[in-house]
């Protein structure tokens, strides 16, 4: 048990001590009670903010902890979403269709990322080449999906749908039970928690320490006897699977997906969430992903055309003035304030 506590509470992420964990527990209680306090519509919106978190976590893992930047992680989001649509759509008569579809979607994401990762990591390319190639990959995917309009572009009974996208994608469920509305919200919440704590434990483990060591100094880590290529590759595939998980939840939430989900604008979003939160903290990225999704949605639902200008400017400002991330810097500030407050309260 103490081993588990060490894994969760280790130094890989900000946030330790009883004050922090009671805050986490309170927040979780708030999220658990939230659906009973608001309308179905708001629950559904909040589920959308939550379902993007695994994608953000994947970016934090890859960029912040491993030092590898990808501008095309939405490609794996889209690949998983489309694969789920194809598999679950074709198995719509079978009660296990959605489960097979979900596993298939994650598998396809992992395989594509594995092949792509083999080329870039085993070639030991320079650091700046990976973001460029991942970006090109996702742009190609968008172009490809965009020209799949028409009846000849179908897999089994499912149409890919060109620029209008794939519609009528089945919701997730087991047998008769379907995750919709409030139950889908809880599904997202549980998965986000599992991803967060799973990653936190992974990064506190020996594997995680080596990953961080690779970020700090590739050559030194390698001369200590670690195969850095295999670890970078594994982290890349894992982060692609996390992006795929978000893609699955997205298509199960809205029952459709369009090629613009893998386009340039969408590709920018995970990078922005991670940079604004602070790429070296999982928790900061969780908070930033949730907050920025809320912000984007609120801005654009008010018909504000400046939404993407504001988000882009936010990225520039963060990189200029808060290079370690806004949430991380706020947290460090709080951390400095808190002990003093406690000392003063004791007096």
């Amino acid at each position: 048990m103490s081993g588990l506590a060490r894994l969760v509470g280790g130094p890989a992420d900000i946030g330790r001590g009883p004050v922090f964990w009671s805050l986490v527990a309170l927040t979780l209680l708030g999220f658990a009670l939230y659906p009973s306090a608001v309308s179905e519509f708001q629950v559904s919106n909040t589920a959308y903010y939550l379902l993007n978190i695994p994608l953000g976590l994947g970016m934090a893992l890859l960029w912040g902890y491993c030092g590898v930047l990808s501008f095309g992680h939405v490609a794996y989001f889209g690949i998983a979403g489309y694969s789920y649509g194809v598999i679950a759509g074709n198995l719509s008569d079978s009660p296990s269709g959605p489960v097979v579809g979900a596993l298939g979607g994650l598998l396809v994401s992992a395989v594509v990322a594995g092949v792509f990762g083999y080329f870039v990591f085993y070639a030991r390319v320079q650091k700046w080449i990976i973001p460029i190639l991942t970006l090109v990959l996702t742009l190609l995917l968008e172009t490809f999906l965009g020209q799949t309009a028409g009846y000849q572009w179908r897999i089994g009974s499912v149409l890919l749908g060109g620029y209008n996208g794939m519609t009528g994608i089945p919701s997730f469920g087991f047998g008769e039970f379907e995750f919709q509305g409030t139950s889908f919200y809880y599904l997202c919440l549980v998965l986000v928690l599992a991803c967060y704590f799973g990653l936190r434990m992974l990064l506190n483990s020996g594997f995680g320490q080596v990953v961080v060591a690779i970020r700090e100094d590739e050559l030194r880590t390698e001369t200590l006897g670690y195969d850095i290529r295999a670890r970078q590759w594994a982290v890349f595939v894992l982060s692609a699977v996390l992006a795929g998980l978000s893609g699955l939840l997205y298509v199960q939430w809205g029952n459709y997906i369009t090629p613009s989900q893998v386009g340039l604008l969408q590709a920018a979003l995970p990078v922005i969430w991670t940079a604004v939160g602070g790429s070296t903290s999982l928790l900061a990225v969780v908070i930033a992903t949730f907050a920025l999704n809320w912000l984007t949605y609120t801005l654009s639902s008010e018909g504000n055309q400046y939404a993407m200008v504001i988000i882009g400017a936010l990225l520039v400002v963060t990189m200029l003035f808060f290079p370690r991330g806004i949430v991380v810097m706020l947290a460090e500030h709080l951390d400095r304030l808190l002990p003093r407050a406690r000392r003063e309260a004791r007096r």
């Binding site: 085993y122 080449i129 172009t143 520039v316």
Partner: protein, 299 residues
């Protein structure tokens, strides 16, 4: 006659796509090679050049004059960008990538809000002539000639002028160059401005052949960056020329046989395979070859 015109047409296709790759990548590769900064706002700088040329043409300025105008406008913008933002990211490659991406988002979205979703295009200057069964556009032949002239001009700039010497010195060892009296800050501003200006120039040159829209920069992202990745940063001009020619040789036959999309897919695969063999790009390989030749006294 039949085969002759086919060969000529193939050469023309190769030449036009090599010129396209070169023009799309030249500004980017200069900034990368001389400053080690990857400028993801490159596509938007090209878009800015295309907009400048289009607006000036519609205002009655002859097209030939709008091209240098686009160079100047975008170069000035680039200088401002370097002074205000890019300057803070020297030595932080990934940070520079991310911040220039933010800039590109703001530029693309800002153009959309300011100028609307599209702009009336300008028509391709010059006519076309036919030889055998194929017809050739005079404008693209001019673009090939301009590309060759640009290569010569850049070679001259970097090998025969004081600025070129200082820029190469700052690239090799900034501290050493500084202590020898080179004002590296000013050299970097000039280099970034030159790279941005060349992006604007290319954007203006390609404008008549493209749809003028806020997100037109995106279509240059894939070709420009693949050219740069394949070319590498060891020798700017050799890399750009070698990579543009090689990629044109990959894309042209695939594109002619299976359509433009598969031509681009072939490009990505070619890039993946080439970096697997030559992780530092063609230019590193070429540079080593040049070095060997010059050591053995052949060059």
């Amino acid at each position: 006659m039949e085969t002759q015109s086919l060969v000529l047409s193939l050469l023309y296709q190769l030449g036009t796509s090599a010129a396209f790759f070169f023009l799309a990548a030249v500004g980017l590769i200069i900034i990368l090679g001389m400053m080690n900064i990857i400028n993801l706002a490159h596509g938007e700088l090209m878009m800015m050049g295309a907009y400048t040329a289009t607006i000036a043409t519609h205002a009655g300025v002859p097209f030939a004059l709008t091209v240098p105008l686009a160079f100047l406008v975008v170069a000035a913008f680039g200088a401002v960008l370097e002074r205000l933002i890019v300057r803070r990211f020297y030595g932080r490659q990934l940070g520079a990538l991310v911040v220039t991406w933010g800039i590109s988002l703001v530029m693309g979205q800002g153009t959309l809000l300011f100028f609307g979703p599209f702009m009336p295009s300008i028509k391709i200057p010059g006519g076309s002539f036919s030889y055998g069964d194929f017809s050739f556009s005079e404008y693209w032949l001019v673009l090939i000639a301009i590309s060759v002239a640009l290569i010569a001009l850049l070679w001259w700039l970097y090998n025969r002028t004081t600025y070129g010497l200082q820029a190469r010195a700052a690239m090799q060892d900034a501290t050493m160059a500084k202590s020898l009296g080179v004002r590296t800050g000013r050299v970097y501003t000039l280099t970034f401005s030159l790279g941005a200006g060349l992006a604007g120039l290319s954007g203006a040159l390609i404008a008549p052949t493209a749809t003028i829209a806020p997100f037109m920069g995106q279509q240059f992202v894939a070709p420009a960056f693949i050219t740069v990745v394949v070319g590498g940063a060891a020798n700017v001009i050799a890399g750009a020329v070698g990579s543009a020619t090689l990629l044109a040789a990959v894309k042209t036959p695939v594109g002619m046989a299976f359509g433009a999309f598969y031509g681009t897919v072939a490009l990505l695969f070619a890039a993946l395979v080439i970096i697997r063999i030559m992780p530092d790009g063609i230019s590193a390989r070429l540079q080593r070859w040049f070095d060997r030749r010059s050591r053995s006294g052949l060059l």
